[in-house]
Structures are given as structure tokens and as C-alpha cells.
Symmetry: D3
Subunit: 326 residues, 6 copies
């Protein structure tokens, strides 16, 4: 039985080699990626039994997603879309080099998941899990995904499954106003929140420093814990009145996509193993450290997904010379 | 000024290496292809000044199409779609090996071309051309493409541009009934028809042998000429009461996709150069021979598009040992 | 709970591109393969819940095996070897072209599996399964694997799990004499036997035609059923006194490695789904047909492992034009 | 009709992957490149209608050049060399890493362009263009290219086409003495000069700082404008007595080849669009900024040629965080 | 000390993947090849100590040749050209597929070897060798190579080194008339001749069947032995009045380039090892059989050069099922 | 006759592309590498006639090693192992990125060299050489290699061949205690020692700074010279009472594997050419400079082996701007 269940869209990810352009290159590297399955895969690196639920087209591209996720040790729980309109969301990633930015071209409209209905999904794993996690991307995809997100959070809550959420605001998917309304409705269902400080500011209107934001979020939505992330400045958690800060590794970046998901997956992975799933200050502090190390390792790997082991994450944590800046 | 203008959808084509599967392979070969631009490119190999008009997303993938077609010496005349919904149609090609069939997975719904409007296009090249060519794929894409197809055929007819059409029935795009109605309305606007015998039979209900089909099509739609294609049995043309038959080359097949388009492009390419664009039996006979050679060379090349030269096509025609089966 | 459990060695498989040589080529394609996991993967393509048990080095190469098998929808049940001597068996495959033969260079001595002990393995899945399958390769690897093979067959038998076995004689692993002794001891534990006619002849001394061989094997070892395979001449099964013959597809061969395993996997895959696991003549006939189709599709794919779906296998079965030679 | 016409040699460029050596690597990346076609391609990224004239072998390698340039939206105006001696100049590029330098091996002697004659070329596009551009590489190739360079500058001058020239001294092609004589004769025909300060110093003997060099060049050759480039120190332009300085982006370098050409192409691209082709201080200042941004983007791309868009160049210009050092 | 010394040009060989075209493909496979070094490499596969002498540019491309040949176990004896004009001959190979022919584009004019002088070479290995071999390609390259060819044959003759020669007429290098004059002058210096029947007919005017041609060649030029090759019809040798015929293997062809060189190398390789270098009918018969097998194996390998071993060649000879057609 | 002979193991080296993982990547780059053949190859870049002796499996992988080393201009003197147990040692290299470390997975147990016997080797080249070199890796492989190492050092000493040794302690191969005993026994046979300071400290117990360590080593083992290496702090040599210090180049690192071997090879390469093999302070100083430059160039190249030329090494030495930090 899965300890962690996530819900969201996983896309085909296509990218030309570094230094070449989408307009001209003849060879694309093909992988799959999506915030919620990235989180599940990262957590499974730490030994968590992880599952991901979604809706996929019943074609080779949909099966590619389930094959890839199984390979990453994530159990797919999928509603198969065999309609004529079935399609897999796709995104194209072009690696940048300063001053040319890394570019993402999304081609995800009308993906099969946008028609998902709670009735199509097997919701038992959600109820049986220790943690259910999704992100702000999922409700942004369609009315159907928004409704299913709410349903699954309700099912989780009812079953005493801890509800975890990452704001993950994506401006290409919806307006700040629409996001604000949706977040406000969803956060009351959430127990553990990952909040990029920029999203908390831009979308939810929290203006203070990370600590202030954390305190207000916990107060406003009765959260068990919040982790405010602030890029190069590391993360700040608030749990049981305790403030815990963690730096980031000054690492090399091979591929930044998925770093935030590896952070969340590392956090949940440690929380659900050594942390017993309990949001105590002590466990959160450890989970935050694993999260930072998982994120740092992810940045060294091409692809959305962390491919690592607990031993490797812990060797990064142990290696003083690896140079974390706290 | 372009001698040949074609109109239709061009897609991104993604394929894993031979012997590997879409479900698992990490590297996809990326090209572009579409029946009507394939025809333009093949004709340009024979020296024709060729253009292609369409609607494309104003993003790197859309620009990839124009770059690729210019590289194939086809002038793109494009309406750029900068809406949020802009997208490029895509298809995935998996090479088969007996008894596993070559598979195509289409992901072309809602491509930018499905919203094309005649007013968005520069129609002068159509009016100025010697030949305007499109296929049965284009009106199948959407009501908008169907209407624009009719408009462009009308503009061409009014300007004394020869109207060329390839039935090209695609069952994944529309029903036989819908196609029959559309074909019936369009064929009255057509001067030169390329008709796969199977399509003439299945969709238009012509039951006889190729010659009978040809005679009925010419009679029913007042065509100047028709070329009925019948796979391994070669082609049969009817023009000015003359019946002309041409075999096919018993060639090796590296990639069969686009063979029919190379046939049409080879035909139009020869017709518009040495044939002066005149549909006489003599010119049609020569054009048919070039068409068969162009198709045979295409089969030896990976990709939708014929990359060749007049000299190469003619060396195939001249080489008795190449073994055409008539 | 797995319906099918297999036991055996899975190796890293490294091969240079076709037409290049192991002595010179700079790029090797890396996959994993082994007879018993190949069978499990092929069966899972038909919808069977399949597992594979073995012993692997606790290093990235060992984890590569479990990742790859999970991707093929096979559940690994693995004893991890963290000793200093832990290693993954490896083989190098060089594709031939007539008259140069395909060559395999094995580097599998002292692989972790050669030290396996039944006590290290979780044997519950074997007892809970409907079918347990292994091959003549496994006992050939070491005394330890031979003993564990016997133990697992005993555990299966005791639990009423059907015991399936493929002779699969490998001359590079042991002598004919050693194999004969081992086979003789193991076959009394077997219910369903896959016997290449050449192995039955060379090793076990059965001299007649396939039918005679089948009848003697069933009689001598009290088998429920036997399937004698004879290369291009197809297979012959004997079950409940009924003789069932099946041809092979005259297919293209992209990669012949693993064809026999796909045959067995296809057989078991159909037997365990529509066949209810019952060795009746009717079910065996159907299973044999699926086996032939699965083998034919495997030959079109690079790698040891069948990557396919029930729908694809059935489309091959349904397509008369695919040209099976019976 | 082309607004910009350039004249010069375009070569086949072959390079092994980074970190590998020309002496050993089995796979070469093949592209085309040449200073003058690089300039045309960069200008076309900003919306200029650009052409390039030259002489090429009438073989697949020559056609590769025209295909590639059309793909980069540059119209080739080519004299085809079908003599037995026809050949395409080639160069091999090996990427360095400190302290091993990037190495270029030229194999360009006796390329078809070295036999070019003005009579072979269609000179109308030169006369019809707004700007004609060539570089000090072209006259260095052969007596024939030197004479044709003079002819085309004369044709341009007569037709009031602005004559643009980049000194681009290449020590492997000719001596400093020979270059000095040629430059002296050509510069009197030039209106707009791009002068690397090192070339102005070494070849033409101008010893002062960039501003002094600029003033002397304008005075000595009655130039409309000069842009002195000085590597990491940016560029300095003199036009209508105004001195304009521009820095460079402290960017990442993926491939430095072609950076100077992207600078010139960016300059001419902006000058010929928003700048109306008029060499005013205001337009030169803007053109110089676009030039710096185009050069910076080029450095991030593998290959001689800038593959970009006006929108991308302008986003670099707009992004303060991209960190230009002025 | 080398038993076999060959003399000739070795070029860089560049080819796009099968099914792609030189006009468009972005990745070229780079190898080296030349008739005389191909022969030396093939002979070394059979255990002969082989050397190759030539002149090469003193640059990375020239060093690539010596590195590659050493890798093939051929000792390079090279005059290094450090002049400004030094260059390596190059050829581009595009794989065909019926009816499109395999195409070779040569770019070999003015290669360093065309300026070779006997004085630059170390001729001791020629005098010390058992066999000196060159082909009709070498004297066709330039007056200098023709003169050096004569010199080396004279040096070999004087030193009782057996002189071996392959007519190898190349129409792209010289006229039939020029070749005829050169052959006539060189053949009087030759002991062992390999004569493609077509060359003997076209250039030297011998009109009869292979046996007649062989008899006339031996008579006219006082040869010790001649091997007439006739494509699919195999070879016919004449030695000491004995006629020996050998068939060819009906093999798969991966790459036909270099097949004839592997034939000669296989012949000389066997002759110089088990054959003691003695041109007796018995040894010639065996050598001819090894030659056919070496040629058959070469056809299965991408590249000019046979990469094989005596054991592999002999396994082909031994395998009746490999199906030689005699 | 070889001036330098080395003795040791050379392995197959397999590595996935940067940023990808051994657990998942489908394409491995294959090369060969081993400390002692790396040294021979680096020395040969400077013009030394270098040989390497070892024992290899008589299969394609063993032949791959000899082919590769010949390509690097190193003469293999090999005992071929045709036993059933013959195997080539293998190692897998995964490139790291901070904070994830570069990882090596060894699979070298029971390689053919571990059974080497002095009687199997041709020891004449050792006796005839100017320098014999091996490292602390070789005696660590097995009792047999330890004994053969002693034998060869004795043969060299008797023949007045200079004995060179690099401590090269590898913790994965043996304990510090075992190494200490072996080193102590071997060093009395050594003339020239390369001693990483860390190894001298950890294994041999020398605690002072580099100079102190050097003085003690020379005293304790009557060395002619010692070179103590200390990573980023450069090297310190002691010869004839003279202390010579050399810095390192602050270079880019493409691949650090083999850097130390390139240092030793560069040292010996210069010593054996311009240095006449004489360990004078003057020659050691020059050799140390070449060693540093060779190491710096190696770091810029993918693979264990330095691929370079004397000219390139000297251009690095000459280029002040290359920025050596002394
Ligand atoms: Ca490719
Ligand atoms: Ca490519
Ligand atoms: Ca891949
Ligand atoms: Ca490689
Ligand atoms: Ca290669
Ligand atoms: Ca490669
Ligand atoms: Ca490429
Ligand atoms: Ca490729
Ligand atoms: Ca590539
Ligand atoms: Ca791959
Ligand atoms: Ca690959
Ligand atoms: Ca790859
Ligand atoms: Ni490419
Ligand atoms: Ni490509
Ligand atoms: Ni590429
Ligand atoms: Ni590649
Ligand atoms: Ni692959
Ligand atoms: Ni792959
Ligand atoms: Ni690749
Ligand atoms: Ni691949
Ligand atoms: Ni290769
Ligand atoms: Ni390769
Ligand atoms: Ni390759
Ligand atoms: Ni390579
Ligand atoms: Ni390679
Ligand atoms: Ni590669
Ligand atoms: Ni390609
Ligand atoms: Ni490519
Ligand atoms: Ni990959
Ligand atoms: Ni890959």
C-alpha cells in the first residue's frame, strides 16, 4: 500500500541538446515529467512506497508515462482515456546559456487529464496513504481537474491522510486572480504547505519576510506546517511555533527543472520514513535538510526526475566539503 | 513568383530509431512533414518555384516548420497564430518490421491551421501560380480549413490557375460520409485529380477497374485529367481520352511515409518545367514517369520529404538496371 | 500478488551498433536481459501480474536491473549483495550479418546470483503464484543456483503452484553430461515443460520426431504438458493426449535474442489470463498461438525484452496478411 | 528584393564533440559557415531580407550550403562550378578547454570560389540592395576573389548601395603586407567599416586608442561611419563626429566562432529595419546595442550562425539582470 | 620487419547515416580508408606484419590516419608534409538503397601524397619486405605518385621483393588512354596481378573470358600469377599453367566499399603466412579461398577496413551452411 | 626497441554521458584505460617509443585493448589468456557535478592479468628498455601480479633499466597494511618514485611536508629521485640534493581520470627524449614542467588517455596567458 499518493499531470518532455535550438535541431531527448510524479519519484529514492494518480491517453505515449514512472519506482494509478480526443500533454525544453534564458514551450491544452472525473479514479490509495500531495498546477489545468483536486483532498482529509500542497503558481495556465480564488478554497483542506515566497506574495498577497509569511499562512489556513521557499536564500519552515531555516547547496546546475519537486519529494521522503510522518520540529528540521540535499542532487541530473538513493543523499549531507551555505 | 502553391497542414514528426519503441526510447528524430508541403518540396527538386501556404503557431515549433521548408526550397506563406491556443500539429512515427506494422500516433487536434481564415492568408501567390494543389486532408481538419480550401480553389479557378487535388482520405480525421460530401463539392472546382483507387471506391463509390474509375471521374467532374494510383500496380492516367499506364520501381523501402506526395510532386514538377503546365497526353506520360521515379527515390530516404535533384531523378529513369516493373 | 514468478539471472547487455565491431566501436547500447525476466516481461504485456526473483549487487548496475524490470512492469524480488565481491553478470552482443554470425561474449562468472541461498529470498511470492517458471540456465550457473532452483521448485510444488521449465541448454555454462544429470533431477518437479527439440535430443537423448519426443517426455517425467520447439518448423504441444502444432511467422528479424523467452512469456501470459491457468488442449492451443505472435513481435525489437501490448499481439494474430506459415 | 547582399566564402564546418579530438573521434557534427553568410543570417533574424552571393561546387556539398542558408532565411545567389576541380572549402573545428585552445584546421585552398569571376554572378541584387557587405577574408582567397570584391564594391557604389566592410584579417590566408595593400585599395570604396582594433593596428598601422583609430580611419578613407571592436572592451563607433561606446555581455560561451559576424549582422539588421539604413548617431547607437546582444546570443549556440529572433534579441536587451557590463 | 608493404593514398572518409543525405544530415561518421592501407589491414588480420607508406599532412587529420592504421595493426611509414599546402584527401560516402545508388564525392585533388618524392620515403621496408603491393589508383594521382610508384617497384624488384599490383581503374582520376599507357609501363615490373575483368577489357583491351584474359596477361607481362576478378562470378587465378576458380559468398552487404581490398589483403595474408609467400597453385588456391571469405566478412562491416581475425575468417570458411556459391 | 616499458592492468571503461546516470542511461561511451598504459601513451605523445606488457583475454574485448593502445602508439606485449575464465577487467565511470561526486564502479576481480606469470611474458623488452614503469595498483591485484611485479623490477634492475614506480594506493584493492608491506619490499628495487603525498603519509607513515617526505624516501630507499605530488599544490622533486617545485595549471576539467598518469607520462616522455634518460636536476626540472602541462591537457580530454603532441604540450608551456599558478 502506498505511503505517499500524488495527483497531477505528467507530460512528455522533449529537448534538443545544450547549445542547439528547437527551431533547427534534428534530435530530441525524450523523457517524462510532471511536478507531482517528480515528487513521488524523489520520495521513493528515500524508500517511500509512492504512487501517482492521473488520467492518460490509452496510446503508446500514455503507456510511456506509466513505464517511465514504474522505472522510477512510482506506482501509477491511472484512468485510461480511449476517446478520440485522448492526448498526452507535451512540453519542449530548450537549455539556455547566459544571457539566453532556458525556454519552455508548453503544448498541454486538452490533455486527457483535463477531462478527469473523480469517479474514474481509484481513490482507495488516497484514503489508505499517509500523505496525499498535489500542487497548484493541477487545479489550474481545467474545471475538471480543479474539482477532482478538491474531491481528493476531501477524501484524504476524511481518511486522516495528511494533505500536502505546493502552491506552484504557473502564469501560463491561469491568471493571478483565478489562482487566488482557487488557492483560498483549497488551502483550508491542506495540512502541510510548500509556499514559494514569490507565489505567496504575488498571488495571496502576503508581504512580509519569509517568517511573517509563514506565520500568516499557518494562522489563516490552520496549517500543521508550512515551508516557505525562497530560491538562493533557502527555506524557512514553521511548525508548532518553531522556525527552522535551511540553506541551499552552492551546486553546479546541469538541469534546474524539477529542483523544487525534488525538494518536496526529499522532504516527504524523509518525513515518511525516519520521521514517521509526524510534523514535529525535529522531524521537519531533518526533512528540510534531506530536501535541500535532494534538490542539490537533482540539479546535477538531466531530466525532471531525481534518480538517486538514500545513501547518496546522505553522503551529500555528510560531506562537509560539499559546501552547503547556511 | 511561385509556379506551384500548395495549401495544407505541416506537422512536427517525431520518431524513435528503427527497432525501438515509442513507449521506451529516449531519443526521437525530429523532422517536419505534411502532404502538401511534401508535394511542394518534391516539385522544387525538379526546378519548380514552389510555395506553401498555411497557418502556424508563432513559436519556435512554428518557426521550425518555415526554416525546414525554406531549406527544402519551398517558400512559406504563413499566417502566424499568436493566440494562447496556438499549437503545431504533431505526429509520432514508429517504424515497423513484419509482422509488426509501422504505426502513426497523431496529436494534431486544435492545431493553429484548424482556425485558418481566408482573410488571414496572402492569396496573391495562389492567383499568380500556374498550379494550386491541395489534398483531402486539408478540408478534413476543421470547418475553417474546409471553407478556406473552397475559397482558395475558387480564387485559383478565377485566376486560371490549374487546380490540382489528391483525394488522400484519412479515416482518423473524418467519416466516409463526411468525406464523400466534401469531395463531391470540391471536385467540381478541380482540374487535375490524383485519386487512390481505394479512396475512389470506398468514399466516392466508383467500383470498376482503374480505367473505368478514371473515365467516370473525368465525366462526373469535368476534369482535365485524372491519375488513378493503385499501390504496387502503378498508376493510370486519363487525359484527352488517352489512357497512360506507369509501373512502380521494385525498390527498397527505407521510409514509406510521403511516397504518394513525392509521386504528385514529381508529376507536377515535370509538368511545370518541361511540360509547360499543359495537360497533354505526351506531357502527362512524361510527368507520370518522373512521378514514379521521384516516389522510388523518396522511399530510400528517412523523412516525409524528397531530398533529391532533377539529375538524380533522371539517372533513375535512365538506368535500365534499376528494374522498373511495367 | 504476482500470478507468475520467475527465477534466474538478469545481466547487463552491451552492444555496438549493427555493422560495427566490439573491438573498435566507441558507443555501446546498454540494456538488461535474462531468460527468466524476459519471460516475466513478455507475460506482463498480456496483462499478467509478474514478478522475478534473483540476487543482485547492491550498486548502480544492480539497481539498473530493478529499474529496468519495473519499467517493463515486472516486480523484482531481490536479495541484495553488498559483499565486496558483488557483481552483475554482463554480456556483449555483436550483431552479425551473413556470413558473419551474431556473437555473444559472456562475462558472467561469479555474478552475485551464483552465491544465492534460498534463505536470502522471499519465497512467499513463489508459493502464492499461479505459475513458477525457471530455465536450464539457472542451475547451470553454480551449485548454489542449482540448489536454490530445486528448493524453489519444491516450495512451488508444495503450494500447488504450477512449475514451468524451459530446458534452455547453454554449452558455455556446463557440459552435456552435467546438464543431463541436473535436468533429470529437476524434471520430476516440473508440470509444464518447454523443450527445444535439439536440447531434448543432445542432452536427454530423445531421438524421435517432435511428437515422439513429447510423448516420451510426458511419460518419463509425468508432465501435465510439454511444448517442443523446433525453430523454423514451429512448435508442437502435447497435453491430455492431444497434439497441437503451431507455425512461426515468417517475419523480419531485427534482434533474435530473447525470441524463445517471448514465446514462453506469450504462452504463460495467455494461459494465465484467458486460459485461467488450466492446461487444457483448448487453452494450450490458444496459448501457443499467442506465443508465436509474441515471439514474432519480439524479433522486430532491439533488446532481449518484448515491449508490446495485448492489443498489438492480437492484431498480429488477426492479420491474415501478416503471413504465418503453418 | 534583398535589402542586404553579402559576398564571400561559405565552408563546410566539421567538429568532434567537446572534449574529444580530431585525431580520434568517430563522429563529426556537420554545419556550414562563413563570415559573410553568417552576417546575412544574423541580419535576417532581425527581419532583413538578406541574400548572399558566391560560387559553389555543383555537387551535394555545394547544395548543402544553399539548403542550409535558405533554412537560415538567406537567399543564395550562386554561380555553380561544374568543373572537375570544383570543391567546397572545409574547416575542422576542435573545441578547446583551458589551457588547450580551440583549434581550427582549414582545408579551403582551391575552393570553387577562388575561381569566381564577376561575369558569372548576377550582380543585380547588389545594385538593388540597400547594403552590400563583405570582409577582408574574401579578397585574401585568390586574385579572382580580390578582383571580384573590387568589382562588386564598384557596382554597389555606382548604384548607391551602402558599402560595408569588416577588416577580418586572417593570417593563415595572406601576409600582413599583402593585406595592407589590398585594404588600402578597398577602403576607399567603403562607407561603413567594422575594424577590429588589433587589425587596424597590425595591418594598417593605426596606433592610438579606439577613438583615435576611428578618427584616423574616417579621415583617411572618407568613411560614413566606423565601428572599432576591441574584444572584451566592447565597441566604439564614430559617425557624424559622434563617438558611441557599447559594452559586451559577460555571457557564457558555448561556441565563440561567428560572434563577430553576429555583431555585424545584428548591427546591419537593426540599421536596415528601424534604422532605415541611415547612418545617424542615433541609429548607430541602437544598432550597436542590437549588435552586442546578437553577439551575446550567438555565443550561446553551437555553430557559426545566429539562430534567433528579433523578440529574443530584444528580450536580452530589455533584461537588466542579464548583466551587460558597460 | 614488415612482410608486406603497401604504398598509396589514405583518405578521410565521411558518411551520413543510411537513409540520410549529404545535403542535409547533421552528423557524419568519420573513418579513414584507402585501397592500399585497406589491403595491409586485411592482411594483418591474418597475422601478417604489414606496413603502409605514404605522405601525409603534418596536422591532426594526417595524424588521425596514422593513429587509425596503427589501431588496425598496420605500421605507417610516412613522409610528413608541413608545407602550407599540406592536405589530406577526403571522400564523402552516401549509402544508397535501390534504385538510388551509393554515391561517392571525392575531394582528393592536391592531397599531400600528390607531391611525394621517392627521396622523402624510407624505402628500406620495401626492400626488406616479402611483398610490395600498390594499385592503379596511386599512379593516377599525380606525376609524382606515378614516378614514385615506378621507383618503388624498381626498388622492390631489385631486392627480390614480390611485386603485387591491383589494376583498380578509377575513371574519375584519369582517362582510359592515360591509364593504359601507365599500366603498360608498370606491369612489366609486376609479379602478381589482381585484374578486375572489366578493367582488363576496358583499359588494356583484353576481350576474351576470364581464363583467356589471364593467359594473355601472364604471357604479355611475364607475370608469376594473375587473379582475374569478375564480381558476382567470383575469381579465376592462373599460376604455373594451373587455372583456379573460386566463388563468392552470397552474403548480406552492410558496406561494399573496400570489399576488393579485403579480397587482396586476404589473399596476401594467407600467402604470406601458411603460403610461405610462394606462388604455387596449391597456395594460390588456399589464398583465393581466404580472399573470398575476407571479402565476405568485410561486406558485413561499416567502413573501408576489414576488422577481423584469422579465427573468424576460418570459421566462415569452415561453415558449410554459410552458403558459398561455387 | 621500446625506450619505455610499462606493466599493469588495462580495463574497459564504460561511461554514460554527463548528467545521466548508470542506473538509467541507455548509451555508454566505451574506451580503455589503465594507469600503466596511460603513462605509456602519454610518453609516446612526446616521441618516446613506448610499450606496455600485460595479460589479456583472447576475445574481442582483449583485442579491443591492443587495438586501442596501438592507436595511441603504444606497442602491446601481451600474454593471451584463452582459458574459460579469461576476462577483461571493467570499470564504470559516472561523471559527477558538485555536490554529487564522480563515481567509479569497479568490476575487475578475476581479470586475466590476475593470473599472470613472469614466464608467460616476453621480458626482453623490459631488459632492453631505458625505463621500466609500474604502479602500486599492479601488485594489489593478486599474488600473481605482485610476484610478477617483483620479477620484472628485478629483471629491469639487472639490465640497468631505470625502475620507475608510482605509489598509486587504491583502497578498494587492498588494505593499508598490505600495501605498506608490499611497498616496503618493492621500493628497494625502485630508482625513480612518484609519490602522492597522501599515500606517503597514509600508507608509509611519512608525516612531514613534501620536502621532508622526499628526503626521507630518498634516504630510506636509496632512490635516484622522487617526485612528491600534492594535488592543487603542485609537485616537489628531490634529485641530487636539489629540490625542484612545479605548480599546476588552473585549468578546466573535462575529465580528471588519468591526470596523474599523464603527469608521469609527460615526465618520462621528456626525460627519455631531451633528457637523455638522465636524472639530473636540470632534466628533472624540465621533465616536471612537461609533466604539469601534459596533466593539464589531459584534463581537457574525455578518456583516461592523453591524446596530444609534443608541439601542443610545448605551446601550453610557452603560452604565458595559459596562466600556470606557481
Ligand atoms: Ca539523427
Ligand atoms: Ca542529429
Ligand atoms: Ca537516449
Ligand atoms: Ca563515442
Ligand atoms: Ca562512430
Ligand atoms: Ca559516437
Ligand atoms: Ca548533430
Ligand atoms: Ca544521431
Ligand atoms: Ca548528435
Ligand atoms: Ca540511448
Ligand atoms: Ca543510441
Ligand atoms: Ca543519447
Ligand atoms: Ni543536429
Ligand atoms: Ni540528424
Ligand atoms: Ni543533433
Ligand atoms: Ni549522438
Ligand atoms: Ni536508445
Ligand atoms: Ni535510448
Ligand atoms: Ni546520443
Ligand atoms: Ni538512443
Ligand atoms: Ni562509433
Ligand atoms: Ni559511434
Ligand atoms: Ni556512433
Ligand atoms: Ni565518439
Ligand atoms: Ni565515437
Ligand atoms: Ni555520441
Ligand atoms: Ni540526423
Ligand atoms: Ni542530426
Ligand atoms: Ni540517453
Ligand atoms: Ni540516453
Amino acid at each position: 500500500m502506498a505511503e505517499l499518493v500524488t495527483f497531477g499531470e505528467t507530460m512528455l518532455r522533449l529537448s534538443p541538446p545544450r547549445g542547439t535550438r528547437l527551431e533547427t535541431e534534428g534530435e530530441l531527448d525524450a523523457q517524462v515529467g510532471g511536478a507531482e510524479s517528480n515528487v513521488a519519484a524523489a520520495a521513493s529514492c528515500l524508500g517511500v512506497d509512492a504512487a501517482w494518480c492521473s488520467k492518460l491517453p490509452a496510446n503508446p505515449l500514455g503507456r510511456r508515462v506509466t513505464r517511465a514512472l514504474r522505472g522510477h519506482n512510482v506506482t501509477p494509478e491511472v484512468a485510461w482515456d480511449d476517446s478520440d480526443a485522448a492526448r498526452l500533454g507535451t512540453y519542449y525544453l530548450e537549455y539556455g546559456a547566459d544571457p539566453r534564458e532556458t525556454t519552455v514551450v508548453y503544448d498541454r491544452a486538452n490533455a486527457s487529464i483535463t477531462t478527469v472525473d473523480t469517479d474514474e479514479l481509484d481513490t482507495e490509495p488516497v484514503a489508505d496513504a499517509d500523505v496525499f500531495h498535489t500542487t497548484g498546477i493541477t487545479p489550474a489545468l481545467s474545471d475538471a481537474t480543479a474539482e477532482t483536486t478538491r474531491d481528493l483532498l476531501d477524501i484524504a482529509a476524511e481518511a486522516d491522510t495528511l494533505c500536502s500542497f505546493d502552491l506552484n503558481y504557473r502564469s501560463k495556465l491561469w491568471s493571478q486572480e483565478a489562482a487566488a480564488i482557487a488557492y483560498d478554497s483549497l488551502l483550508s483542506r491542506v495540512d502541510l504547505l510548500f509556499a514559494p515566497r514569490r507565489d505567496a506574495h504575488r498571488i495571496l498577497g502576503y508581504d512580509g519576510d519569509a517568517e511573517a509569511v509563514a506565520r500568516e499562512l499557518v494562522a489563516d489556513y490552520e496549517l500543521d506546517a508550512v515551508v516557505v521557499t525562497r530560491g538562493a536564500d533557502g527555506s524557512l519552515a514553521l511548525v508548532d511555533e518553531a522556525i527552522i531555516e535551511e540553506g541551499i547547496y552552492s551546486d553546479e546546475t546541469v538541469d534546474a527543472i524539477g529542483t523544487g519537486d525534488a525538494f518536496v519529494g526529499g522532504f516527504l521522503g524523509e518525513l515518511l520514513t525516519n520521521g514517521d510522518g509526524a510534523l514535529t520540529p525535529e522531524h521537519v528540521e531533518t526533512a528540510q535538510a534531506y530536501a535541500a540535499a535532494a534538490a542539490a542532487v537533482k540539479r546535477t541530473i538531466t531530466g525532471d526526475v531525481l534518480v538517486s538513493t538514500r545513501a547518496e543523499i546522505e553522503s551529500v549531507l555528510a560531506d562537509e566539503s560539499a559546501g552547503i551555505s547556511r
